[in-house]
Symmetry: C2
Subunit: 302 residues, 2 copies
């Protein structure tokens, strides 16, 4: 019997001993892993980049609020000098209001920022029903119409719009786009080089059509991003924060990753976990847990 | 200017003055309205029947737990002597476990009870993922396989199985059947006289395919039940209790009722609201609010 002199790392936020060793920087199993900044939301861009570099991840997904806090030019310099890829820029959208002009202007600014940061895609969450409104079809049509106005700017700056269907749980207040099939119906109105879809395991795992729609998205070259997090129970009182660290819930993440890879997607795999307990943890521990869970629950078993 | 001597009734649980008069017993607008017992869950079957009769509703949806509390024979006599229709019997299902024999026996008993009560349909909630399980396809196939074993008994006792897709919010812990399209894919493996689907506004309102799937269900004669309640925000900490009194939320109930009627459904319209505030209210106030909201938000404007 041997004993280790290195203490076993602990996964966060569950507090249990890690089931696999942490892949070290340079490990090829990290080659596609990206930290989405939402997973370490309370940390600045500088702190997030530091954690990503220490862990040896090659990529980061950026958020507007953190970039604004840092300043766009400084953020762009920081990311460029880090050598990291930018997997995505979050986020645009919220185009369901009765007057979308201000939102469109804001989305154009977001596209400009994405271009300055070297992000290939602006993740789009289309918005929910306006307060007191029951006209879901109307909200959808307004958002889809607004997209038409936005696509020329996306094309001009060379950033794709990634339409993200959100779990139907969020249909009323956040995203009238609820399934991958529906997102593709909209995306296919435009050229694939300008508009694609985001596949987030949390939002699509329940969908009986998820495999055929991932395949359809792949055939059309429409998958702009693949985001991973888990469905954990019970849902917290703020449903927005109910997402789990990969492996802590009931989603077969490996099966979905296989489907996305099988559809021809070769891009980054972002971990995006909105969760107050994850936010409270040390960001280096968060990134190390992510890396271990990626090996354990997302990639093929070694 | 005239003043009324009759105090304006108050809607529950919102506490606001009613927007329309309460339709009196005999009013033809009540001709299809049914109280599902879940809406007055803390009340006994006797109390629920009393409230329904006082309000002049023609129909009631029964629950197994209330029937068991009353005793099956007494419940059957009570309902028969009341002259009420039984719109549905809730509920069977929970067939996703690794060993479904006990669940199947229980479902056969539920079918026998439904037959004794004169209920035309047993509402089926198929169950979620077993604890610690990530195999959603496996859970679905087990439930669909168990249905095959159950259909002969349903046919023998003359009670239809009504497959109820639940909002994807409940996929993990309650129902791996998540959309009307998926429910129809399963139902259509069997004769329409034995297996149909339940359309519940709360569960289907977000679905971009809802209209075409309601039409498909109608064409096949598959709509066994139409249940109405509303989506209200924020979701409560217990997501099971987040349903709203019709009109308190953001679902276009009238549009969905039109779709169901347009698909040829002529049966009862059940109000099924799981909501702790509704349960705390006086059941006569609950039924009166239901009746007013039915006029205001579900039927055509008079």
């Amino acid at each position: 019997m041997t004993t280790s002199l290195v203490p076993t790392p602990v996964d966060v936020p569950c507090g249990l001993a890690a089931a696999v060793p942490t892949p070290p920087p340079g490990d090829e199993r990290l080659a596609r892993l990206s930290l989405n900044q939402a997973t370490v939301k309370p940390r600045s861009l500088v702190q997030a980049v530091d954690s990503v570099l220490r862990a040896g991840l090659p990529s980061i997904g950026l958020w507007r609020e953190h970039v604004a806090e840092t300043g766009l030019e400084r953020a762009a310099r920081l990311v460029r000098s880090s050598g990291l890829r930018v997997s995505s820029y979050c986020r645009g959208g919220f185009l369901t209001g009765r007057d979308t002009r201000a939102a469109l202007d804001d989305n154009r600014r977001a596209l400009d920022e994405a271009a300055a940061l070297g992000a290939p895609v602006l993740v789009m969450v289309l918005g929910g029903l306006p307060e007191g409104d029951r006209d879901l079809d109307g909200a959808r049509e307004r958002a889809f119409g607004a997209l038409e106005e936005l696509v020329p700017h996306a094309a001009a700056v060379g950033v794709r719009l990634g339409l993200e269907p959100l779990h139907p749980l969020f249909c009323a207040d956040r995203a009238v786009l609820s399934t991958l099939g529906q997102a593709l119906d909209v995306a296919e109105r435009f050229e694939a080089e300008h508009v694609g879809v985001v596949v987030d395991t949390y939002h699509v795992w329940w969908d009986p059509q998820v495999r055929e729609q991932i395949a359809r998205a792949g055939r059309g070259g429409r998958i702009t991003s693949f985001q991973v997090c888990d469905w954990v129970l019970p849902l917290p009182s703020d449903a927005l924060l109910g997402r789990g660290m990969p492996g802590d819930g009931c989603i077969d993440l490996r099966a979905l990753r296989r489907a996305v890879d099988g559809a021809g997607y070769t891009g980054d795999i972002e971990v995006e976990v909105f969760n107050a307990e994850v936010w409270a943890a040390d960001p280096d521990d968060v990134v190390a847990t992510m890396a271990r869970r990626h090996v354990q629950h997302v990639l093929e078993r070694g």
